[in-house]
């Protein structure tokens, strides 16, 4: 099921939490919702899941507007809210049964679904405990299990991996990736490696506005511009090397970074790569090329550039 968000706006008092944003999410896509604290991620998610009303604009799920009283959109959405609220005094199985019943899972199928979820989320060892007795990581799994209990076509996960240990994080990310093949997944996070590991597309939001939208690669390309290479060339005079590098026609600028270690940084002309030319130059002059590393703009840098100020 696709989600279309059109001119969505929501303000709390004079402050605009979400300001006229537009985006689509398609089936089989994992969308990473990225932004600093208070950027409007959770507010947007709350509107998609129908917890808070839409002030202006529209959200359409499977072509139907949420404001249409006939659309029972909540049945198609599985939602893991921020901070993962749960009924701590309920046993896990009772809780999952309650959620399944509310989401309209057929009575005869409830038991099977619960078993499946317990297996999928790795809750088997703890299944007879009360939720309040579980550690944070297991509670997070219960939160995921309740979101998926009715096999929804859309999953909205607000910071799904907080509180998990590194092994669990990897498992949950894999789970999200697998789910994302058939379902529509929106997940919010401020852990950047998580986005790269799980998401097909990134949406960066800052102060209620979308500041970037694209795959991790396209964002990186946009932010990076020209190719930057880190080089170490030995067996030659530093000044000569620098001069020769600057003389190459694909090189825009070559700098000496570290004299003793013969480290250089080379920026190429737009849309061109200097790797081959540098290699050929070294072969020709009998210099030894001991290091050639392309410097990638990290997602962190993109994020900082777009959201700081």
């Amino acid at each position: 099921m696709d989600i279309q968000i059109e001119n969505l706006t929501k303000s709390y008092g004079p402050q605009k939490a979400v300001n006229n944003i537009n985006f689509d999410v398609k089936t089989g896509e994992v969308l990473g919702f990225l932004g600093p604290n208070g950027a409007g991620k959770s507010t947007t998610m709350k509107m998609i899941t129908g917890y808070i009303g839409i002030e202006k604009g529209d959200i359409r799920i499977g072509g139907k507007s949420l404001t249409d009283p006939e659309s029972n959109f909540k049945q198609h959405i599985g939602y893991l809210p921020e901070n993962n609220p749960l009924y701590l005094d309920m046993p896990i199985i009772d809780y999952l049964e309650f959620c399944a019943a509310l989401q309209g899972v057929e009575k005869t199928k409830i038991d099977d679904r619960i078993k499946e979820m317990i297996g999928l989320c790795g809750l088997n060892r703890e299944k007879h405990k009360k939720i309040g007795e579980l550690s944070k990581g297991y509670r997070q799994r219960v939160g995921l299990a309740q979101a998926m209990i009715h096999d929804p076509e859309i999953l909205v996960l607000d910071e799904p991996t907080t509180g998990l240990d590194p092994n669990q994080i990897i498992e949950i990310r894999k789970l999200i990736r697998d789910l994302g093949k058939e379902k529509t997944v929106i997940l919010s996070t401020h852990i950047l490696p998580e986005v790269e590991a799980t998401c097909d597309r990134i949406l960066i939001i800052n102060r209620g506005n979308i500041v970037a939208n694209g795959t991790p690669e396209t964002l990186r390309k946009q932010a990076q511009g020209n190719e930057v290479l880190k080089l170490r060339i030995e067996d030659g005079d530093v000044e000569t090397i620098l001069k020769s590098l600057n003389a190459l026609d694909t090189v825009q600028e070559a700098d000496l970074v570290h004299r003793e270690e013969n480290l250089f940084e080379v920026q190429s002309v737009a849309q061109q790569s200097s790797k081959r030319n540098i290699f050929n130059l070294c072969v020709e002059k009998k210099w030894v090329l001991t290091e050639l590393t392309p410097l990638e703009t990290k997602l962190e840098d993109i994020f900082r550039n777009l959201t700081v100020n």
């Binding site: 709390y12 939602y79 749960l86 009924y87 701590l88 009772d94 309650f98 019943a101 509310l102």
Partner: protein, 240 residues
Amino acid sequence: MHTIWTIAKRELATFFDSLIAYIILALFLGFSGFFTWLYGNDIFLVGQANLRVFFNIASWSLFFFIPAITMKMLAEERKTGTLELLLTKSVSDREVILGKFLGSILLICIALTATLPYVITVANIGNLDNGGTICGYLGLLLLSIAYTAIGIFASSITTNQIVAFMTALLIGLFFQIIFGVLAQNFTGSLGQFFDTLDLQSHFESISRGVLDSKDLVYFLSITVLGLYLGEWSLSKRHIS
């Protein structure tokens, strides 16, 4: 309807899991039993084979205990954030309110059923007025749904259970005592107005065995108004 029942069942299960139900049942039975059988204007002092004494005491116990039952219903869910989880399932605000309402009413019904031995005892002592007894229980039930609706509304406006309890008690106090006192102190149409609002007089007329549609309408209007306000207070999240 199915959703309302699911929510009500969960509420009831939570009551019994967390001991609240047992404490409330024990206190309700202890309190009403003590004043019915052992102390003050008890059944032996009155010397009549009816349960008028019990109905009077029970109405006061319910007045105190219902806010204790309803106080956590929405306040706690709001505080822990589970309200968000609940309302993003495929349920409407109204179903949540009605489910919680039904859950507490069921607990109260269990408490009232547990007083049936009183009826059997009195029936063995003398000639019990069956119609009057049934009306008395009906009166208690009507009073309970009104106070439960008030309690749920009070719980919906705050995240603090104590505030919810106090608010419910305060609103209840008006119906239980204050309107009655005002009715005695004013004459004419104003006095009549307060008399209409006084819950005790409506309750007494039912528990005396007089079934008047006026009283039914009175209790049902408080209930509907309380539940409606509760729903309205939940829906306020959409506009803030």
